[in-house]
């Protein structure tokens, strides 16, 4: 088929398949040969088949804010996003460095706060931060690990230009899509994998299991008991929680399956209470323990924080890690990386204006049309303003909100996010993407799964890739060197 479909004309953006100048880039060469000989009708049938597969396996997410909890599919696009071996090794070194720094930072701010003493971060950025958890001061997490699982959101603007958009250090989601996307591609296009040497991602659940077990507390036996804690079947990511528990072969528990028995957290089995050593929780800090945090929480385990502080359970990720991916702290990440690793940051930060800062606010108010403004504690693409695509009225409304609570917002320039083609009705069409690689941290080391989740804004020109806002996903290939 004509691979340069009608929509592949030159755009101001860097396309990962066609570069800036419509010349096919090396990582896509093999794929391009295959694709140009494919019948579009067959590919369209494959696209539908993929959707059927997803629906049948139940890979759905629940949409918040609707009267009836509705299960929806995240659209899947069959054109893979391909990253070359050398590109990836540079990236993964940067990711490792960043994750190492985040863990050191967390240890430090919950202990001696050297970074504050050194004057690199103001005291009130830490102690005045909602994401700072005083309960964690002086606590030694088993194995010294705070963020067992991290998902670093990256965007690209040119051949060598990667930026970190966000460090998801609490409970990053989406890894099940990474795995199922690959599974689907393997089923649909086995011939592609015979031609391209793509690094596998399927070991993730085994690696996760091993990594978590390596962080077990001292009281655990030879075979630590792991469990995944979910808020329940109405949570938007319930499918993923069940998927991961299933893939690891461990129990999927809810708060009411657990209770503190003899100083341990134990789950109610058909034969009585059995202690849990490592809890991979997908419940936010606030709801984790009604005795220590939000007293109305039905999702947590009363007293689990006391067991944790006594060193008798591993909670992954540790409570209080949210401060590391706080959008206000984000601006300090280059300092944080340098302070703890003694190295120059390998990954760039996006320039960020803090609206809490009077000069920052003035700049942001003057340049709203060109900026992306985000809520400091928001997530999932809710409550943000994308200046260049917003209407005058949106901007005016946002200006009011911003003036009312400046401390609630940060702003960043609109990045020229790279595009990757999707398979549209008219053929290939460039769409903006981001990348979330998944990182596992244990005393045995840091492991970055090759690839990650590529999210793609399916609407032409759109920069919002969030699934809750109409984004889709792609399989992400890292080539063998």
């Amino acid at each position: 088929m004509d691979v340069k479909g009608c929509d592949m004309e030159n755009t101001p953006y860097f396309d990962e398949m066609w570069g800036h100048d419509a010349r096919l880039r090396q990582p896509y060469r093999q794929f391009h040969d295959w694709f140009s000989e494919e019948d579009p009708a067959r590919l369209r049938a494959k696209q539908r088949e993929a959707e059927e597969l997803f629906r049948l396996t139940g890979i759905t997410f629940n949409v918040y804010g609707r009267a009836e909890a509705e299960e929806r599919l995240i659209p899947f696009d069959i054109i893979p996003r391909i990253i070359s071996g050398p590109e990836w090794s540079r990236l993964s070194r940067g990711i490792e460095q960043r994750v190492r720094a985040i863990n050191a930072f967390l240890y430090d701010i919950y202990h001696r706060q050297e970074i504050v003493r050194a004057g690199r971060i103001p005291q009130d950025m830490i102690s005045g931060n909602d994401a700072f958890l005083p309960h964690m001061i002086g606590v030694e997490p088993p194995g010294g690990i705070y963020t067992h699982i991290v998902g670093i959101d990256l965007v690209r603007t040119g051949p060598g230009d990667f930026f970190v958009l966000e460090d998801n250090a609490r409970t990053p989601s989406g890894v099940s899509y990474m795995l199922e996307n690959r599974e689907t591609m393997l089923q649909m296009f086995p011939e592609l994998f015979a031609r391209n040497r793509v690094r596998p991602v399927q070991n993730y659940p085994t690696d996760l299991c091993r990594s978590l077990a390596a962080c077990a507390p001292a009281c655990a036996g030879d075979k630590p008991v792991l469990a995944v804690l979910t808020p329940g079947i109405y949570n938007s990511a319930y499918f993923e929680h069940a998927f991961l528990a299933d893939q690891m072969g461990v129990e999927l528990v809810e708060g009411h399956d657990l209770r503190v028995v003899d100083g341990r957290v134990a789950m109610r089995t058909t034969r009585g209470y059995q202690p849990v050593d490592v809890l991979y929780r997908r419940v936010d800090d606030e709801f984790l323990d009604p005795l220590n945090f939000n007293p109305d929480s039905q999702l947590g385990v009363p007293g689990i924080m006391d067991v944790y502080r006594a060193g008798n359970i591993t909670i992954a990720n540790a409570p209080g890690t949210g401060i590391a991916d706080d959008k206000a702290i984000y601006a300090y990440m280059p300092d944080i990386v340098e302070f703890y690793t003694g190295e120059r940051p390998l990954l760039q930060n996006v320039p960020t204006w803090r609206c809490s800062d009077p000069d920052g606010l003035v700049h942001v108010l003057d340049n709203l049309e060109d900026l992306v403004v985000k809520e400091v504690h928001g997530s999932g693409g809710y409550g943000m303003l994308i200046g260049p695509t917003a209407t005058k009225r949106d901007i005016a409304a946002f200006r009011k909100k911003l003036k009312a609570r400046p401390g609630n917002y940060i702003a960043q320039p609109t990045l020229s996010l790279s595009t990757v083609p999707i398979f549209s009705r008219q053929g290939l069409a460039p769409r903006h993407v981001d990348l979330r690689p998944y990182v596992l941290v244990s005393p045995e080391g840091i492991k970055v799964t090759p690839g990650g989740l590529t999210r793609v804004a399916l609407k032409k020109g759109s920069l919002v890739v969030n699934s809750s806002q109409g984004g889709g996903t792609k399989d992400t290939w890292v080539q063998e060197d």
Binding site: R55, T57, G58, L252, M267, T269, T270
Partner: protein, 315 residues
């Protein structure tokens, strides 16, 4: 295994069994209504009763007489009826999501496919013309789930809870059908041998998919006594009370192997088998068929409650 998981498995399979039983009752009702010349809508009252759905239906109908269309719709797809085929399939799938980690991929996909199909074909009122095809599709999907369960699940406690749920529900269903129709099986019913009786007896056998089996066991000569015996005491008939109770017992015995203390629920099943299901059919009729069925239903309810406690389904 988590108590919650055991609970979810138990109910997932109970709901699937109930969906299938309700579908079969609708099929029977439809068949009887079509083959009887004097067909009124009386038959639907007893179908609703057998499905345990009459009281709610009447409340919903606010005194209007039972019509075929409304009865079928209520049983098949009403969201207000927790035991409608659609409600049961939705509840089964909801429980399956809850216990996803205990199911094989095959069972989960069959369950999900059943749910998606049911939502599609039961989205609108089903016309009389489409009813047979609709019911056939539901039966085939239920068979797919059962087949995947038997063919792919490990014979661990997971399987035991699935079976216990299935067979307790089935025993309940068979007992309820007998409870509604017991009077046509009584020797004193007067009209023995008339065509009405034959139709009524046929209804009972159809309701439990047992016409072929009954002929194999008793030839063409079987009457009400034999029907009662077949449905209550026959150990080879997979929907008889004795067969269901025996299967529940086997699965509890398997669970008991790993538990040091004797299971009270197992004692209750033993009591049901000894007190009710080990006598001959003459004794059952002497005791009173109606009273006997009521006794069995009470036993079944007690067993289900005890299983919840024994295996920590709830806090």
């Amino acid at each position: 295994m988590l108590g919650k998981t055991a609970n979810g498995l138990f109910w997932m399979y109970r709901y699937f069994e109930r969906a299938e039983n309700t579908a079969r009752l609708i099929e029977t009702g439809q068949r009887i209504a079509l083959t009887r010349l004097d067909a009124g809508d009386d038959e639907w009252v007893s179908v609703l009763q057998s499905a345990g759905a009459l009281t709610d239906f009447e409340a919903e109908a606010e005194g209007n007489p039972v019509t075929r269309d409304e009865a079928v719709d209520w049983l098949l797809r009403s969201g207000a009826n927790a035991s409608s085929v659609l409600s049961c399939i939705e509840a089964a799938r909801q429980n399956a999501r809850l216990v996803r980690t205990a199911l094989t991929g095959e069972v989960w996909e069959a369950t999900n496919a059943t749910y998606m199909t049911a939502r599609r074909i039961l989205a609108r009122k089903v016309s009389e013309r489409d009813l047979p095809e609709t019911l056939r599709t539901i039966r085939q999907h239920a068979a797919l789930v059962r087949g995947m369960t038997l063919g792919t699940m490990m014979r661990t406690e997971i399987f035991n809870f699935a079976r216990i749920g299935t067979f307790l529900e089935r025993a309940d269903s068979t007992a309820r059908i007998l409870d509604v129709k017991y009077y046509v099986l009584l020797p004193s019913a007067g009209a023995v041998g008339t065509s009405i009786d034959n139709v009524q007896w046929e209804t009972i056998l159809r309701s439990v998919s047992a016409r072929g089996g009954f002929r194999l066991e008793y030839g063409a000569a079987g009457g009400p006594l034999e029907i009662a015996e077949f449905l209550i005491l026959n150990k080879r008939m997979p929907r008889s009370l004795a067969f269901c109770a025996e299967t529940v017992r086997e699965n509890l015995l398997h669970l008991q192997q790993d538990i040091p203390d004797p299971l009270p629920s197992l004692d209750l099943v033993d009591a049901l088998l000894a007190e009710c299901l080990s006598q001959d059919i003459g004794a059952v009729f002497d005791f009173g068929l109606h009273e006997f069925i009521e006794t069995v239903l009470a036993h079944l309810a007690r067993i289900a409650r005890q299983i919840e406690i024994d295996f920590r389904f709830y806090e």
